[in-house]
C-alpha cells in the first residue's frame, strides 16, 4: 500500500506538465526569435548569400561555427546515456532523457544549419545523388544522418515503458497527447519478452552510438584538418574536437538540469548530489579540453612559422584576442577553478559554470572557423576591403539565434510531451532501494 502511494507520488511528480505563465512566455519568446530567423532566411533565399558578410575568403562564417557547435552538443547523448550506462554509472539515469533530448534537438539543427549555409539549398539532394565518397563533407552527411537515427532510437526505446504509464493518465495529458502516446507506444504491455528485446536494443544502441559519436565529431574536425590552412593543418584536431564536444555537452546538460529542476520542482530527483557528480565530470572534461588546447596552440606558438604568424598573433594579441581569451578563460579555465571547490559544485554555481562553458564553447567554434580563413597562405592582393574582414550581417545573426532558439524550442516541446526524467527507471530504482533496505 505504502509502495503504491510512493509510486503514485513519483509518477505524479514526473508526468509532463502543462506550460505555466513563464513557460508560455518562454515558448512565445523562442517562437518569435525563430520567426525573425525565418524572415532573415527568406531574405537570404530571395537575395542570395550576398546578404551575409561571407565573401571569397571567409566563405565559412557563423553558420559553420554554429554547425560545429551543434554537432559538439549532440555528443552529450552518447556521453550521458551510453558511456555512463556501459560503465555502470547508476546516478546518471535521471539525466539520460535530458541528454538524449538535447542530442536530438542539436543534431536536427546541425543538419538544418548546414543547408542554410548553402547558396542553392534546392540542390541539396545532389549531395546524396552525386556525392564523392572521397570528400569528408560526404562522410559528414552520412555520419550525421546515422547519428540522427541512432539518437532518435535511443530516445524512443527507453520511452516505451513511460508511454504505458502516460496512457494511464489520459485526463492529465489531454486528448491530443493521449492519441499521440497511443500511436507511438500503445503496443507496450511491459511483458518480460518486450523488456528483454528493449533492453537488448538499448544495449546495442549504447555500444553503437559511441563509435558513431566519435566519428561524427572526428569527421567534422576533418572538414577543417584535411584542408591545408594555418590553424587547421593539425593532427590533433579529431581528439581536440571530441574533448571540446564532451565539455560543451556536459555544460549544456548541467544548464538543462538546473532549469528543469527549478521549473518542474524536481529537487527530489535531480539532487545536489547529481550536480556534485556532474561537476566532477565537467571539471575532468574541462581539464582534458584545456590539455588539448595547450597542445593545439603552444607548439605552433613556439615555432611561430611565418605562414601562421598572422593567424596566431590575431588570436593571441590581435583582432580576435578578446574573443580568444574569453573562450579560454571563461569557457575552460574559470570553470575548472570554480568546479575544483565543493561549493562550486552546488546547483547555482554549476548553472553559471554551465552557461560559461556553453557560451565559451560557441565562441571557440567561431575562432576555429573564421580567423583561419582571414589568413590564407597566399597573401590577399587587390581585393575589396570587405573581403579582408568578417563580421556577421544581421541576417546571419538572426538565422543563428533563430537556430539556437529552435533547438531550445525542440527541447522545451519534448520536455512538455515526454517525462524529462524516466518514470519507469525511477520507479525501479525506488523498488531496488526499498528492497535493499528490507534486506538490510
Amino acid at each position: 500500500m505504502e509502495n503504491s502511494i510512493e509510486n503514485d507520488r513519483i509518477i505524479n511528480d514526473l508526468l509532463p506538465q502543462k506550460f505555466g505563465k513563464a513557460g508560455k512566455i518562454w515558448v512565445g519568446f523562442l517562437v518569435a526569435v525563430c520567426l525573425v530567423g525565418m524572415y532573415a532566411y527568406y531574405r537570404q533565399l530571395r537575395y542570395g548569400l550576398i546578404v551575409t558578410s561571407m565573401r571569397d575568403y571567409v566563405s565559412w562564417g557563423i553558420y559553420i561555427s554554429n554547425f560545429v557547435f551543434f554537432v559538439a552538443i549532440s555528443l552529450v547523448g552518447s556521453l550521458i546515456t551510453a558511456i555512463f550506462r556501459l560503465a555502470g554509472v547508476k546516478w546518471g539515469s535521471p539525466l539520460t532523457r535530458i541528454a538524449e533530448i538535447i542530442a536530438v534537438a542539436a543534431i536536427i539543427f546541425a543538419s538544418l544549419i548546414i543547408i542554410v549555409d548553402m547558396g542553392s539549398p534546392e540542390r541539396f539532394y545532389n549531395l546524396f545523388l552525386y556525392g564523392r565518397i572521397q570528400s569528408p563533407i560526404i562522410w559528414d552527411v552520412i555520419v550525421i544522418t546515422t547519428y540522427f537515427f541512432i539518437s532518435i532510437l535511443l530516445l524512443y526505446y527507453p520511452l516505451l515503458p513511460d508511454i504505458k504509464i502516460l496512457l494511464r493518465f489520459r485526463e492529465h495529458s489531454g486528448e491530443r497527447l493521449y492519441k499521440f502516446y497511443n500511436y507511438i507506444g500503445s503496443f507496450w504491455k511491459g511483458t518480460p519478452e518486450q523488456f528483454r528485446l528493449s533492453e537488448k536494443a538499448i544495449n546495442i544502441l549504447c555500444i553503437s552510438i559511441i563509435p558513431v559519436a566519435f566519428t561524427i565529431h572526428t569527421v567534422t574536425s576533418w572538414l577543417f584538418a584535411t584542408t591545408y590552412r594555418p590553424g587547421w593543418d593539425s593532427t590533433n584536431f579529431g581528439a581536440y574536437f571530441i574533448a571540446g564536444a564532451f565539455l560543451v555537452g556536459a555544460g549544456s546538460v548541467v544548464v538543462a538540469m538546473y532549469v528543469f529542476r527549478k521549473a518542474y520542482h524536481l529537487e527530489k530527483y535531480i539532487t545536489e548530489d547529481h550536480f556534485e557528480k556532474m561537476g566532477r565530470v565537467t571539471v575532468l572534461l574541462a581539464l582534458l579540453y584545456l590539455y588539448f588546447n595547450v597542445n593545439e596552440f603552444l607548439t605552433p606558438f613556439f615555432k611561430m612559422k611565418k605562414s601562421e604568424e598572422g593567424y596566431l598573433n590575431g588570436l593571441f594579441s590581435g583582432d580576435f584576442s578578446v574573443v580568444f581569451w574569453f573562450a579560454i578563460l571563461v569557457g575552460i579555465i574559470l570553470p575548472v577553478i570554480i568546479l575544483l571547490f565543493r561549493q562550486g559544485r552546488k546547483p547555482l554555481p554549476m548553472f553559471i559554470v554551465g552557461i560559461m562553458v556553453v557560451v565559451g564553447a560557441w565562441f571557440k567554434r567561431y575562432l576555429i572557423v573564421t580567423p583561419t580563413l582571414l589568413h590564407p597562405f597566399l597573401p590577399m592582393h587587390d581585393v575589396p576591403a570587405s573581403y579582408r574582414h568578417y563580421f556577421p550581417s544581421w541576417e546571419e545573426w538572426a538565422i543563428t539565434l533563430g537556430s539556437l532558439a529552435g533547438t531550445m524550442l525542440i527541447i522545451t516541446i519534448l520536455a512538455r510531451i515526454f517525462p524529462i526524467i524516466p518514470i519507469e527507471e525511477t520507479l525501479e530504482e525506488q523498488h531496488e532501494i526499498i528492497a535493499h533496505h528490507e534486506t538490510v
Binding site: I133, I142, T146, L153, Y157, F187, K189, T191, S198
Partner: protein
C-alpha cells in the same frame, strides 16, 4: 604716418595674394627621361630594337609607361624611319627593322639607331643612339655532343670570323636558359669559334627527346644581342604520366579508390544493418504487445 602705414599694409596684402597665385610662379621643373636602346637578332633573321625609358622619381629609377618614341636608322629623316613605339608598363617597347629601310640596312656594315622623345608635360625632350656592327652567329652540334658557336662580322662585303667575343652556350628551358656544362661563358678563338661539351644528358626534352641548344651574345658593345637556336635529340624523352581518370582521393566520384569504397561501404552497411535490425525489433515488440492483448 598713418596714411603711410595703410599703404604699406595694403601693399603687403596684395603681395601676399599674388604670392599665393601660382600663375606668377615658374612652371614646375620637368624630369629627365633617359632612353636605352638595345639591338637584338634571333637566328640571323630580322633584327629588332627594344627601347626602354626610365626616370629618377623620388630618388628611385622608375620605368615609364606610355612614352611615345620615334625610331630611326642612321639619321633622323623620313626615309630612314623605323617606326613609332609606345612603352608598356615595364617602360619597354619593341620594333622590327622594317623592309622600308632594307636598302639603307644593306648599304653599310655598321649602323646607328636613333630614338627620339618629343617631350611632354612631365619630361623634357630627349634622344638616344646606339651603334652596332652587323654580325652573325652560327651554331653547330657535333656527334660527340660538342656544341660549337661561330661569330662573324661583316667587313666590307665579307663575313669574317671574330676573335675574343664572349658568348654563352646553353639549353633553352621554359623560363630561362641553362648552360651546357659548368662553364658560364666561352670566348671565341681566332677562327671565331667557341666550343663546349654538352653535359646535361639527363635533361628532359620533348616526347622525342628533342632539346633546343642556344648560343647567345648578350649586351655586347659592338654587336648588341645575338641569339641562335638549334634542335638536337640529346634530351631524355618525356613520358607523360597522367593521374587523370585514375582512381584517387582527388578523382571524380566514379573513380574513388577501391579501398576507400570498400571501407566506407562496409561501415555504412554494418551500422545501418544494426539500425534496420533495431527498427525491426520495434515491430517485434509491437507484435508481442498485440498478442498479449
Amino acid at each position: 604716418m598713418k596714411q603711410f602705414n595703410k599703404i604699406i599694409i595694403a601693399g603687403l596684402s596684395i603681395l601676399l595674394v599674388f604670392t599665393s597665385f601660382n600663375g606668377f610662379s615658374q612652371a614646375a621643373e620637368k624630369g629627365d627621361l633617359s632612353i636605352a636602346i638595345n639591338y637584338f637578332i634571333l637566328n640571323n633573321k630580322v633584327p629588332y630594337l627594344m627601347v626602354k625609358t626610365t626616370a629618377k622619381i623620388n630618388g628611385k629609377f622608375t620605368n615609364l609607361s606610355d612614352i611615345k618614341l620615334k625610331l630611326y636608322l642612321d639619321k633622323d629623316s623620313a626615309g630612314t624611319f623605323i617606326g613609332d613605339v609606345i612603352t608598356n608598363e615595364k617602360g619597354e617597347a619593341c620594333a622590327n627593322i622594317p623592309l622600308s629601310v632594307k636598302k639603307e640596312w644593306a648599304s653599310a656594315v655598321k649602323h646607328t639607331f636613333l630614338a627620339t622623345f618629343a617631350g611632354n608635360n612631365k619630361f623634357d625632350a630627349n634622344k638616344a643612339d646606339l651603334t652596332v656592327s652587323r654580325a652573325k652567329l652560327l651554331i653547330d652540334a657535333g656527334s660527340d655532343k660538342t656544341v660549337t658557336a661561330t661569330v662573324y662580322e661583316l667587313k666590307d662585303t665579307t663575313w669574317t670570323p671574330v676573335k675574343g667575343v664572349e658568348l654563352i652556350l646553353a639549353v633553352k628551358r621554359l623560363a630561362s636558359d641553362i648552360t651546357i656544362n659548368e662553364t658560364p661563358t666561352f670566348t671565341t678563338d681566332s677562327t671565331g669559334k667557341a666550343s663546349g661539351d654538352f653535359k646535361r644528358d639527363s635533361i628532359p626534352g620533348d616526347v622525342n627527346g628533342n632539346i633546343t641548344l642556344v648560343a647567345k651574345i648578350s649586351d655586347n658593345d659592338q654587336y648588341g644581342n645575338l641569339r641562335i637556336e638549334k634542335t638536337v635529340p640529346w634530351g631524355a624523352k618525356f613520358v607523360a604520366v597522367s593521374d587523370f581518370n585514375k582512381r584517387s582521393l582527388f578523382a571524380t566520384r566514379g573513380k574513388a579508390p577501391i579501398w576507400l569504397m570498400f571501407i566506407a561501404t562496409s561501415i555504412i552497411i554494418a551500422v545501418w544493418s544494426i539500425l534496420i535490425m533495431l527498427v525491426i525489433n520495434i515491430f517485434k515488440i509491437r507484435k508481442i504487445g498485440k498478442e498479449a492483448l
